[in-house]
Amino acid sequence: MNIQTKFHGEIEIKDISQWTFPNGLPGLEQEKTFVLLPIEGNNTFQVMQSTTTPIIGLIVSNPFPLVPDYSFKIDDSTIELLNIQSQEEFTVLVIMSLKQPFETSTLNLQGPLIFNTNNQKAKQMILNDTKYNLRHPIGELAAKGAQ
């Protein structure tokens, strides 16, 4: 199957893992299936592209190298929705709001994306506590990625 993408033109997704978001994402509830696509020459960020709506492409990143003390508990409703059975079977990414200049871009640490690598199900989990900001400055480490 070929899909139109925001940044990668038309691509064949037969051999690319597709992630199902049973609830969509807040504000994008109708978007249920995404693929993760690499950004040429950049290992820090990826594009999370909707398979059904070309303009829905989000920049995502592993938060842990960028925000070393980032930690939260995965809530019961997420564990149940994604059918998470153990500590080892999920990965976490966060969404970046890309701004000009790049250094002013922010990471959404309050709504991390949880991916169950066993069944390809995913969810944007919203943290009820206010420890983390949904517009966290990307910091020096990530900013270096654009210089």
Partner: protein, 73 residues
């Protein structure tokens, strides 16, 4: 929207398995206890709204800014 009046310690039952209890009313703040199945997300409304806005903001990316991300290892 259904609107009900409740006093402290009174509750509202929704379906078979969701109970909302008024714990305390103090000034302009109402403390509410919610019992629901584990599968139900319980979130403050304004938080969901701001995550929603942030997602919408995150998809409006300028292609020129995106180009800056390439070949930056």
């Amino acid at each position: 929207m259904l609107v009900l009046s409740r006093k402290p310690n009174e509750s509202i039952q929704i379906g078979d398995n969701i109970e909302i209890r008024i714990i305390e009313v103090k000034g302009d703040t109402v403390r509410i206890g919610i019992e629901a199945p584990k599968s139900v997300d319980i979130l403050r409304g304004e938080l969901v709204q701001s995550i929603s806005e942030s997602n919408t903001e995150a998809i409006s990316i300028d292609l020129n800014v995106f180009e800056q991300l390439k070949n930056k290892n």
